[in-house]
């Protein structure tokens, strides 16, 4: 009963054609079909935030989004946030500066979430940063450094 559907996805400003089963999530489309493996699969059930991407500029979980649903939307992944010349996005630079990771597996999701958190303006205090970053779990427990990195990047963006 496997039927595939043809989709055109707009990812990081480039158009990609793919042929997938309807059940394929955006996360699996990115990783398995387009080899954009920066977006990580953690829990695959919407609890950890490792798969965070942006759809039309808003942070969402790609593990609970069907690839078919986001045809026609603008998708941004961790591969798409640095400058064309390779300069890191200020949030990426802040994560390096503050050593805001240990194993690094949650980091792409943390960074995508942080970029959106700053854009939303939810960085008024450390408490607010913690609340609005609570959808990104870090099993190494690098939270204090994540908060410091988000705070610094937010201040730099003001």
């Amino acid at each position: 009963m496997t039927r595939t559907i043809q989709l055109t996805l707009d990812i990081n400003g480039h158009s990609h054609e793919l042929d997938v089963e309807p059940r394929v999530t955006l996360l699996d489309a990115l990783r398995e079909h387009l080899l954009l493996t920066g977006t990580k699969k953690g829990c695959d059930q919407g609890q950890c935030g490792a798969c965070t991407c942006h759809v039309d500029g808003k942070r969402v979980l790609s593990c609970l989004t069907l690839a078919a649903q986001v045809e026609g939307r603008q998708i941004t992944t961790i591969e798409g946030i640095a400058a064309e010349n390779g300069d890191l996005h200020p949030v990426q630079a802040a994560f390096l500066e503050h050593d805001a990771f240990q194993c690094g597996y949650c980091t792409p999701g943390q960074i995508m979430s942080a970029v959106a958190c700053i854009k939303e303006g939810h960085t008024g205090s450390d408490e607010e940063i913690r609340e609005y970053m609570s959808g990104n779990l870090c099993r190494c427990g690098a939270y204090n450094s994540v908060v410091a990195a988000v705070r610094e990047a937010a201040e730099a963006a003001r």
């Binding site: 559907i5 695959d44 059930q45 609970l64 069907l66 078919a68 959808g135």
Partner: protein, 327 residues
């Protein structure tokens, strides 16, 4: 996840027609449906994507009240300045739910239809018995780990808790679900499932939630949502209370009060006995605390969730004192 066919609806009517086919289900934010499909709980043969429909995500507030389209995202409603000003319990219930990512995905209609977090319901391979999934098969939660299960509106058929926050606020504020052909108060939209746990709402095949309306009131404007949980953020309620309060001109006597509970019952739970006991009374902590206990009339614990019977009235009391300006 089993494979399914995918159909992108171009109108609400289109979606309703497509939903009439066997084993078809509508897809909005996907945060419940895809999660349950991965767990093996939802096994749709056809998924009808309604996220590309236009004109169903509006948020309009006037003197009569608020009208919220079914596809409005949780984050958009939570952050809407008029919702914050006129219906703070609604805004707070949404802000305190899920995570920023999930609130950008999940819709208002889908939020109402979220399913229980009962770990036994969510794991059909390990726990085949579940009256909600398979009527008559039994309840695996009884005798299991049930710290977050319900104490109100339960029976030995099912002790699963309705997990949503928004619905408690909507029930307290007399909100109505727009199903197109009919308008149903949110309180009646959810069926008590103590004897038929597989039936959770009045929604019929081919029906679709088009939106929610919330009537304006003084109690709605002076409302709050208090959520107590095991961790500070990104967690379901151990017990929560949506309350709204209007005082008489003496600024002391209770004229109108609304109380609904989340996290403790099989459905969003309006505590009318508490309201009736308080109307006409002076707003005093002891009086409120005594009345709040009435919310637990008929409560039953089958084990680890006994604490909720003590906790919920305290949450109600604190929420009422907060909107009364006394806490």
């Amino acid at each position: 996840m089993r494979d399914f066919s995918y159909f992108r609806a171009t109108s609400a009517e289109d979606a309703r027609q497509a939903a009439l086919q066997a084993s078809a289900v509508m897809l909005a934010g996907g945060t419940t449906l895809l999660d349950l499909a991965k767990c093996g709980v939802a096994e749709p043969e056809a998924v009808i994507d309604i996220t590309h429909l236009s004109g169903l995500d509006g948020i309009a507030v006037n003197q009569e009240g608020a009208v919220i389209g079914t596809l409005a995202k949780m984050a958009a409603v939570a952050d809407h300045p008029d919702i914050k000003a006129w219906f703070p319990a609604v805004s707070e219930s949404l802000s305190l739910a899920a995570s920023a990512q999930l609130r950008n995905m999940a819709t208002i209609g889908g939020n109402l239809l979220q399913r229980t977090r009962c770990a036994y319901f969510r794991d059909p391979l390990t726990f085949p018995a579940c009256n909600k999934r398979n009527p008559g098969s039994g309840c695996s939660a009884l005798g299991g780990v049930i710290r977050n299960h319900a104490v109100l509106g339960v029976s030995e058929q099912c002790i699963a808790s309705y997990p949503g926050d928004l619905a408690a606020a909507l029930v307290a504020l007399d909100a109505v679900v727009d199903l197109g052909q009919r308008q149903v108060p949110v309180d009646d939209f959810f069926l008590p499932y103590d004897h038929a746990p597989e039936r959770e709402t009045v929604l019929q095949p081919g029906e679709m939630i088009l939106g929610i309306s919330i009537p304006a009131s003084v109690a709605a404007r002076n409302s709050t949502y208090l959520k107590v949980r095991d961790r500070q953020s990104y967690e379901f309620a151990a017990a929560s209370a949506a309350v709204g309060l209007e005082l008489e001109s003496d600024n002391r006597t209770i004229k109108d009060i609304r109380v609904a509970l989340g996290g403790v019952a099989s459905k969003p739970w309006r505590a009318r006995a508490v309201e009736q006991a308080l109307i006409g009374k002076a707003l005093e902590e002891q009086t409120v605390a005594r009345a709040a206990r009435l919310a637990m009339d008929g409560a039953v614990s089958y084990g680890d969730n006994l604490y909720k019977i003590e906790l919920a009235p305290r949450v109600i009391t604190r929420a009422i004192m907060k909107v009364g300006g006394l806490a």
